[in-house]
């Protein structure tokens, strides 16, 4: 066809040209690299610098992991085995792993109990996280806190059973009385809860030997288990409290609104670490000497207060982002305040707030390591205290802190991935 002149000669194609492969510089990895890494001299220089940094990091990291040893009972053993290979002394992780997970005081023969509670967590949480699972599974979620408490702390099962029964009784009474007014319902429910708890307390004292497994006091809790307990409990408490505070801040009732604002502004204005010191030391002054107010409970209250104030502000942002028309449409259909909040406003406001709530939740989980400052032996407390100060493992910093990073990263990355999945699921605007 090369001798053909389109302008002067009529042309009919008789054979179709087969599709050809593009030239080497225009396809596959070469093309990708040319566009993304070497498009212009600045990018080329940056690529080379970047490649050097990656190479430099990996040249230290890979031998550290590959040559590392898992054998030996002390840092001296490690040094003998490793010589100058640059490997890590991972033997510390093997030897101290149970301590990193459970702390150094939790009875060895009982470690299966918190492990079981941890395993059950993966049955109890999905019904909340994945709304497509059948609704009856929420029963498992409702039972789990009491079961997990019993497994981890031990003692007589009467206390957790009556704690649960108290809440059930409170709910039932509330449903009955609520028709006569919200306040009456709440008061009656409170009376029912307190009555059942009081009864349970009396029974637990009386029959403290029945349904009993060996008790483990709070001061023996430690390791990553403590971080997980604090993280799970505080996140699951602070989200509902945060929702209430956010709604309270928008309330028309001056008392509710005032309380919410003062609470949020005060708690946000105080460093968490001071609240923890208050929990640790100061509360003991205010309580009568005979009361035994559990330290973990005190810490849970403080962290929950702290993060619920943050979550309240995140949710307030979500509420403010909703057009006023949504409230008006709900009102004009005759929905009352509770219905319009539950069915219309909160589902949308919470959806908007997911990234912010997850942000607070991840931050909260990592902040549970601050309890190491008030001499509790969580994962960080264990590493800083008993492990690093033992003569066997003096100076094994990198391996231990790397392990702590990996543990926390796994959980936090999981939370983040879940939230992104949830956002995709809830997207109905089809942009």
């Amino acid at each position: 066809m090369s001798d053909m002149h389109a302008e002067s000669v009529a042309f009919v194609r008789e054979t179709a040209l087969p599709p050809a492969v593009p030239p080497i510089a225009e396809r596959g990895a070469v093309r990708w690299m040319r566009i993304n890494l070497f498009s212009g001299w600045i990018n080329t220089v940056m690529t080379l610098i970047g490649a050097f940094i990656v190479f430099w990091l990996l040249s230290g990291l890979i031998p550290w992991i590959v040559n590392g040893t898992w054998e030996g009972d002390s840092i001296r053993d490690c040094r003998e085995i490793l010589q100058d290979s640059g490997g890590g002394c991972f033997a510390v992780l093997r030897e101290r792993w149970p301590q990193l997970l459970f702390g150094f005081q939790y009875p060895e023969e009982l470690r299966w109990r918190p492990s079981l509670a941890f395993a059950l967590l993966f049955v109890a949480v999905p019904p909340v996280l994945f709304y497509k699972l059948p609704r009856w599974m929420l029963v498992i979620t409702a039972v789990f806190p009491f079961l997990a408490y019993w497994l981890i702390w031990g003692g007589t099962a009467i206390s957790p059973i009556f704690a649960a029964l108290g809440l059930v009784a409170g709910y039932l009474v509330f449903v009955r009385v609520e028709k006569r007014g919200l306040v009456a319902g709440l008061l009656a429910a409170l009376v029912a809860v307190v009555a059942v708890w009081w009864l349970g307390g009396a029974l637990a004292d009386e029959f403290s030997r029945s349904l009993r497994i060996e008790a483990v006091p709070s001061r023996q809790m430690g390791g990553f288990m403590l971080n997980l307990i604090l993280g799970v409990v505080c996140v699951s408490l602070s989200v509902p409290i945060g929702i209430l505070l956010a709604m309270g801040r928008q309330s028309r009732l001056p008392v509710v609104k005032g309380f919410s604002i003062v609470f949020i502004e005060f708690v946000r204005g105080v460093p968490l670490i001071t609240l923890l010191f208050v929990a640790n030391v100061v509360l003991a002054y205010f309580l009568p000497p005979s009361t035994n107010f559990d330290l973990i409970l005190r810490v849970i209250i403080m962290i929950t207060m702290f993060s619920s104030a943050y979550i309240a502000e995140v949710i307030r942002g979500g509420l403010a982002a909703l057009p006023k028309g949504q409230y008006e449409a709900a009102d004009s259909l005759g929905l009352d305040y509770a219905q319009s909040m539950r069915l219309i406003i909160l589902p949308q406001a919470l959806k908007i707030s997911i990234p912010g709530i997850v942000n607070v939740a991840v931050g909260l989980f990592k902040d549970t390591t601050l309890v190491s400052v008030i001499s509790m032996f969580d994962l960080v407390g264990m590493i800083r205290g008993p492990i690093l100060s033992s003569t066997a493992w003096l100076g094994v910093y990198w391996e231990l802190w790397a392990a702590a990073c990996v543990l926390f990263f796994t959980v936090c990355y999981g939370i983040s991935q879940y939230s992104q999945w949830l956002e995709r699921q809830l997207r109905t605007d089809h942009r």
Binding site: E328, A329, S332, L333, G334, Q339, D429
Partner: protein
């Protein structure tokens, strides 16, 4: 324009009073939005309210279902006085349907859920029955095939028709329309107006804030012109459009009909 002379479709207006507003006043802070409003709406009446922007027409109909509070005077809907008593307000709201300029559908719920939500939660209708009613009204507004979609997937006109159907599912005795076509593209206005006309032909008591004068001519028994928070002129549509008496009405009509 034969339509102008008679009540189209033989729509009947009874003597029963649906809404009665007496000496109603409302302020936004210092600003006197509604001044001495007196209005009596009989059952089956179809009223169009027009007027320049800021004249208080939207505020007036929003007062009727207590989306706005009035400070003086009385409003009675179906004989129930609109006071600060929350029970009266909820009762009136469930009897009065409202359509908004921006539809205000619930974007997180599918169309069918938008329609069944209030019947299920406010009227305590069983879910099946509520869904049957919802489908009935979706067919009436001619979009039954969109029932499982989300509002964000529909056109503006379709959304407004869903909003009308959502109000109808509560079986309201009165419908309020707050500029239902102002946010729509021109080619979608007709489908919404057709739905409203159909509703009028079935004898629904309606108050519409709208600038669709063709709709007013065809459907309304009465056109009300508001300016600066007052009812300046009201009349039957024919008289209103052909022989407006107030100077401001004349000016307004010449402006909106002038092109």
């Amino acid at each position: 324009m034969a339509m102008m002379d008679t009540n189209p479709g033989g729509m009947s207006v009874s003597d029963e009073v649906a809404i009665e507003i007496r000496k109603m006043n409302k302020w936004f802070g210092q600003f006197h939005v509604l001044r001495d409003i007196d209005l009596k709406v009989r059952r089956g009446e179809r009223i169009v309210i027009c007027g320049p922007s800021g004249s208080g027409k939207s505020t007036l109909i929003r007062c009727i279902n207590a989306l706005e509070e009035h400070q003086q005077g009385t409003i009675e809907v179906d004989g129930v006085p609109l006071s600060s008593d929350i029970k009266n307000i909820d009762k009136i709201r469930s009897e009065v349907g409202m359509c908004f300029q921006h539809f205000n559908l619930f974007p997180h719920l599918s169309v069918i859920d938008n329609l069944t939500l209030a019947p299920i939660w406010v009227r305590k209708t069983p879910k099946r029955e509520a869904e049957e009613t919802a489908m009935y009204f979706l067919e009436k507004v001619k979009i039954p095939d969109q029932a499982r979609k989300f509002p964000g997937q529909l056109s503006g006109g379709q959304q407004q028709r869903v909003a009308i159907a959502r109000s109808l599912c509560m079986k309201p005795r009165i419908m309020l329309f707050d500029e239902p076509t102002s946010a729509l593209d021109p080619e979608m206005i007709k489908e919404v107006l057709d739905t409203m006309i159909q509703l009028a032909e079935e004898g629904m008591t309606m108050i519409c804030v709208t600038h669709e004068m063709g709709f007013a001519r065809q459907v309304a028994n009465r056109v009300i012109f508001m300016d600066e928070g007052q009812i300046v002129e009201q009349n039957e549509p024919e008289e209103f459009f052909l022989r407006p008496r107030n100077e401001r009405t004349k000016l307004f009509l010449s402006q909106i009909l002038g092109h």
